[in-house]
């Protein structure tokens, strides 16, 4: 075939399509060329090809200098040597140069064990750094509620920048300064919380070193658990159960719902609840809002459409800072995390007969933006959710307590805030929230029972942008689904342009693929198959649930009967809804 290129790598003949890189060609014959800055996430249309670290250099015959394998296209007849002594010496020296300007605090580094630079130092058996230079970069640590930027550790791979600018189109990060002082920074080097950063955490997810990490809250949680005067309640988000197992060596996509509940109970939480409960609650509120807006729209009223889901705090941050003119269209429903916190510290606290400040609500989330979101909602100087920890932090807590998740029995969540439907668990995947809403809205609008609850058209997308047309009785609902903020931007631009596709509802998740790929999930290290395995796991869990529609959740019914009266009631509004404010950010 004419568009195939023949090259030789380390004596092996390789045939690859034209346009392939040496790195890709090497991979096809099992030659592993080490890389650092390179990151190929083509599933979400991101390839970080800055070729800046120079670790992957190889010898190409006839070329005067070494070539970066990650960014050098193959050419017919090319002869490549990936493992000569010259290459080894170059890689070693480049690595030593990098290490000479990198803090050696692996003992206390949040990335230790997951650090790609550490892996390379190990691979090359670096025992001393021959480069005798003494200066080290020094930058001020930037501590936001969600993300900590420790730019002394930045190796200028620029993955975060590519992610933030190209995939998420947020534009919070960019390289600044020259030479040794060059670093990835925010505009005017402002702290993250003054920038357009949405805290989606995708930068943390791709950072190969400890320059970008989550704001850890595990010790605060341990202290709360140790406090005999506190009742500590935990909620876990849907996506957590599909990824936590990876931290314990289980296959990606292993469901560990029961073991996780057991672990949380053994960690000392007084009540082990489920954010899924609150997801069902969210559907009650959001579907009511959708049906209401639709009905009024059909009656000729001028109502803001499409309705945008509002479960994702990073997405809310995005619209507040980037599209302040569209703030009337998102649903006013708070996210499941916050609905849970509000209900736990009102309804459930009242049931227990304790004051809200005697209760500590901890959330386990796949997300870093949730940490920030938790600080936004409080009553009487007491946050509805006191601490939000990531999936990674929970895994760490479990290990710290000498437990192996694999060895734990499967246990159930506690009642009443632990009961949930299958609709709730798919909240963790792109398309899941809107599917859950449709299951309920369908029955409310048509008055008929929805037999097949799985909306295949919606399910068909793993990443990216999708428009689906769903029959609800006589009505065809035009549904937009987007994951990744770049895709969200595309949909918002469409709405600004007058909503030509007449979309009625849009679900947006900030992270590509949904919460299963959140900034707080176990590091995928560029392996998108893990993300798809987690997505599939959530559908499996949904499938196995006896109740698959939110409005059929008996605990939810009871909550309305006993406390909230009905969706969108005054009390519900007070506890479960919010308002959006435009944010001026750089």
């Amino acid at each position: 075939m004419s568009n195939m290129i023949n090259i030789t790598i380390d004596g092996k003949k390789v045939q690859v399509p034209a346009g392939s890189t040496i790195l890709q060609a090497a991979q096809t014959v099992g030659i592993h060329i080490p890389t650092l800055c390179h990151l190929d996430l083509h599933d979400i249309k991101m390839v970080n090809q800055t070729a800046s670290c120079r670790i992957c250099v190889v010898e190409v015959e006839g070329r005067r200098n070494l070539a970066p394998a990650c960014a050098t296209p193959v050419a017919e007849g090319m002869v490549v040597h990936s493992n000569t002594l010259k290459v080894m010496e170059a890689r070693r020296t480049v690595l030593e140069l990098m290490l000479s300007d990198h803090p050696k605090d692996c003992l206390t580094c949040a990335k230790s064990g997951e650090c790609e630079l550490q892996d390379l130092a190990e691979l090359f058996n670096i025992r001393n750094i021959r480069v005798s230079g003494t200066s080290m970069s020094t930058y001020k640590k930037d501590i936001s509620p969600s993300i900590i930027r420790d730019m002394d550790k930045c190796i200028m791979c620029r993955r975060c920048e590519t992610m933030c600018n190209q995939v998420q189109t947020v534009g919070a990060l960019s390289a600044v300064n020259r030479g040794f002082d060059a670093v990835v920074a925010t505009s005017f080097e402002a702290p993250l919380n003054e920038t357009v950063c949405t805290y989606c955490g995708q930068c943390v997810q791709v950072c190969p070193v400890g320059a970008l990490t989550e704001h850890d809250s595990t010790w605060e949680v341990v202290e709360a658990l140790n406090d005999p005067d506190k009742i500590v309640v935990v909620q876990t988000a849907p996506a957590v159960r599909a990824a936590l197992g990876e931290e314990f060596g289980l296959e990606p996509g292993s469901l560990v719902t029961g073991q996780m509940a057991a672990a949380l109970r053994r960690l000392g939480f007084d009540y082990v609840f489920d954010t899924d409960f609150a997801a069902d609650l969210t559907i009650m509120e959001e579907a009511t809002e959708l049906v209401d807006r639709l009905t009024r729209h059909l009656n000729g009223e001028d109502v803001p459409l499409p309705l945008l889901t509002s479960c994702c705090p990073a997405w809310v941050n995005f619209i507040e800072s980037q599209y302040p003119e569209l703030l009337d269209i998102p649903s006013s429903a708070r996210s499941p995390q916050q609905m849970f916190g509000a209900i736990a510290k009102s309804y459930f606290a009242e049931k227990l007969g304790v004051r809200r400040d005697q209760m500590v609500v901890v959330s386990v989330m796949p997300c870093l933006a949730k940490k920030y979101e938790a600080t936004k909602f409080e009553d009487d100087n007491n946050q509805d959710v006191d601490y939000s920890i990531s999936t990674r932090e929970l895994a760490n807590l479990i290990k710290r307590m000498n437990m192996d998740l694999k060895e734990l029995p499967e246990e159930d969540f506690d009642d009443p805030l632990g009961e949930s439907s299958g609709a709730a668990v798919i909240f963790g995947k792109t398309g899941g929230v809107i599917e859950a809403a449709l299951r309920t809205a369908y029955e409310w609008v048509t008055g008929e029972t929805l037999e097949n609850v799985e909306f295949e058209d919606i399910r068909s997308t793993s990443y990216g942008l999708k428009v689906a047309h769903i029959k609800v009785g006589d009505l065809t609902l035009n549904i937009g689904i987007s994951s990744g903020l770049g895709n969200a931007r595309a949909l918002l631009e469409e709405i600004k342009a007058g909503n030509p596709n007449n979309l009625h509802a849009i679900e947006i998740m900030a992270c590509p693929g949904g919460c299963v790929n959140g900034g707080g999930q176990p590091y995928a290290h560029g392996d998108m198959k893990k993300i798809q395995a987690r997505q599939a796991a959530l559908y499996r869990e949904d499938c196995g649930k006896p109740i698959r529609k939110s409005h059929e959740n008996p605990s939810i019914k009871k909550l309305y009967e006993e406390y909230l009266v009905k969706p969108n009631s005054e009390k519900a509004h007070h506890l479960l809804h919010t308002q959006y404010t435009a944010k001026e950010r750089v």
């Binding site: 090809q49 800055t50 070729a51 800046s52 670290c53 120079r54 670790i55 250099v57 200098n65 070494l66 970066p68 960014a71 050098t72 296209p73 010259k86 010496e89 170059a90 020296t93 480049v94 140069l97 990098m98 000479s100 300007d101 021959r130 480069v131 005798s132 230079g133 003494t134 200066s135 190796i155 200028m156 960019s174 390289a175 300064n177 020259r178 030479g179 040794f180 002082d181 060059a182 670093v183």
Partner: protein
């Protein structure tokens, strides 16, 4: 110029302007008017004559009288004596240092004798702000010829035949570059002129833009025709205000004359030029970084391939050439590719402009045929080393180049010879060093420059140049060991092999080339704690030679730290513990009794 009898040309380059050449022009005009000769004598502010050492320069035509170091108040005498009475003002003529004679005709000056001005052909001859003068010297005829007599392919063929290679540094064949850009189909292509001259001491591009901006406009239009581009961009550093002004002026006059814009000279070819300002980053002289900067992005190089000829400005096929390269293009069409091809060496054709600087008598801008030897440049044109000192090395190619020594003096200068000797042509900086220059310090100077100017993108350049500069700092401060020298070599080699762009790949050249020729000097620093050139203060010791000391006490009284003691009329001594090596004693001593080593 027809009805005027005499032309007075005053250098209006940046150097001479800063020595008040504008006032000279005003005074000359006023005096000529007062003498009632304004119809016969025309005063022109031209571009640079190149002989910056002796500026401001005033040249009078037709007799080719060359006045040097003219002051505004000299205008009166020049007009009264030379212009009115026809008597040359002897005291302002150039004095040949060897023959100790005044030379009146510039043609007889050694500085000009061996020069051949192709790229600088109009600099110092025409008023750069007047398009008529450029046209008067065959300007825009090359463009007209291309549009009427040649197909674009033939234009490229002609440039290829001329053997012209890029003057920006690497010497890539210009015709081939144009061909590659032509070969890529696109709805829009671009011609970019790289005027982001940034090598320390280099100012040839500035001088061309200041002295002959139309040659660039014309060449870019020819290039546009050849590659099929209708858009040209000049990326020029904002620190060149005069060049920018003259270029803007040239572009707008060319538009008025129909030499830019739609259907140039009645042809189907349309072309226009816009100017983009650089923000002062050296790395933006690298073509991919330049294009990113033009797009409004951070000025950072990107991996090649893809080359700009494929994916350039806004991802469109783009041809980037530097100013001097373009300045050669019109001549190729005026005098023929064969004429051009006969100048120079086998693989380097034409001439090269050099900015001659350092410890040399005739500092300035020169242009010589390729193949001229360093000896001719330094001794014949440059007038030899200042103050009769001994030649040590010449640094060519700026921060990317290296040092050449005595043994290289008879090497014919061309692209390949310089590279073979561990240096490079670069943009044409040439800094001459004498016996007082310390080579590790020279290397340190350049590394501090590249360290500062590295964009910081790739590891070897971002951290490697920093480490090299730290090692050199240690060595020149007496803290070096033999390990330092070993490490310099090792890191230099890896940077050369692995850095992303030309800046990084060539950054170690000053280190490697000085190490190759002067390793003994490095070793003296690290093994003996001695700086042979006497430059590294930290390694110096000041001594009083007892036999020469008269005991006048002047040194002791001037020592700021009281390190010198001794009785009157008896030899003094320096307390090495206290001495801060400021050299005040040595400067004051009237008997040459104080030495340093």
């Amino acid at each position: 110029m027809a009805d005027t009898k005499m032309h007075v040309l005053v250098c209006g380059g940046t150097g001479c302007l800063s020595s008040n050449s504008s006032d000279i022009v005003d005074n000359l005009i006023a005096e000529i008017k007062a003498a009632g000769m304004e119809d016969e004598v025309k005063v022109l502010k031209t571009g640079c004559f190149g002989f910056c050492e002796k500026g401001p320069i005033v040249k009078i035509l037709p007799d080719n009288t060359f006045y040097t170091q003219v002051k505004p108040e000299d205008a009166k005498e020049i007009v009264a004596e030379h212009i009115v009475k026809g008597r040359k003002v002897e005291r302002l003529l150039y004095m040949d240092p060897e023959k100790e004679q005044h030379i009146s005709d510039a043609k007889h000056m050694d500085f000009y004798k061996k020069q051949m001005r192709v790229a600088l052909r109009n600099c110092g001859f025409i008023d750069p702000d007047n398009i008529e003068e450029y046209i008067g010297r065959d300007g825009y005829q090359a463009l007209a010829k291309c549009l009427t007599e040649f197909t674009p392919e033939q234009v490229i063929e002609e440039v290829k035949k001329s053997g012209l290679r890029g003057r920006g540094g690497a010497g890539f064949p210009t015709g081939l570059k144009w061909q590659l850009a032509r070969a890529n189909d696109a709805d829009q292509k671009y011609v970019v002129c790289n005027a982001d001259e940034g090598d320390p001491g280099a100012f040839m591009d500035r001088s061309i833009l200041e002295g002959d901006p139309h040659s660039i406009v014309e060449a870019m239009a020819i290039c546009g025709y050849a590659i099929g581009a209708s858009q040209g961009r000049v990326y020029i550093r904002a620190e060149y205000p005069l060049a920018i002004k003259r270029l803007e002026n040239a572009i707008s006059s060319a538009r008025e004359y129909g030499l830019l814009g739609d259907n140039i000279l009645g042809s189907d070819f349309s072309f226009d030029i816009e100017i983009t300002f650089g923000a002062g980053a050296f790395v933006c002289g690298e073509e991919t970084a330049l294009l990113r900067s033009m797009e409004g992005n951070r000025g950072e190089p990107t991996t090649k391939p893809p080359f700009p000829a494929e994916h350039g400005y806004w991802n469109k096929p783009t041809n980037v050439n530097n100013v001097e390269t373009f300045a050669n293009v019109p001549v190729i069409f005026l005098k023929g590719a064969d004429w051009f091809n006969k100048i120079g060496t086998e693989k380097s054709k034409g001439t090269k402009v050099f900015a001659l600087a350092g410890k040399i008598n005739n500092v300035g801008l020169i242009e010589v045929p390729m193949g001229t030897t360093l000896r001719e440049v330094i001794y014949d044109i440059g007038g030899g080393i200042k103050n009769g000192k001994k030649f040590k090395a010449v640094q060519t190619g700026g921060p990317s180049g290296g040092c050449l020594t005595e043994k290289d003096l008879d090497t014919p200068i061309d692209f390949d010879n310089l590279v073979a000797r561990g240096s490079m042509m670069g943009s044409g900086g040439m800094i001459v060093m004498d016996e007082d220059d310390c080579m590790p310090s020279v290397a340190r100077f350049y590394l501090e420059f590249t360290e500062e100017e590295s964009c910081g993108k790739c590891t070897p350049c971002r951290i490697g140049t920093k480490r090299l500069s730290e090692l050199l700092k240690d060595i020149t401060q007496g803290k070096g060991t033999e390990e330092h020298v070993k490490e310099l070599k090792r890191i230099s080699q890896v940077i050369k092999d692995t850095a992303l762009c030309g800046l990084g790949q060539t950054a170690p050249n000053p280190v490697l080339s000085t190490l190759a020729a002067f390793e003994d000097e490095y070793m003296a620093h690290v093994k003996e704690g001695r700086c042979p050139a006497g430059k590294c203060t930290a390694l110096l010791k000041f001594f009083i030679e007892a036999d020469k000391c008269k005991g006048c006490t002047l040194c002791a009284r001037n020592c700021p730290v009281g390190a010198i003691s001794g009785e009157v009329r008896k030899p003094h001594a320096i307390d090495q513990e206290k001495c801060i090596k400021c050299g005040a004693c040595m400067d004051r001593c009237k008997f040459g009794a104080i030495v340093k080593h």
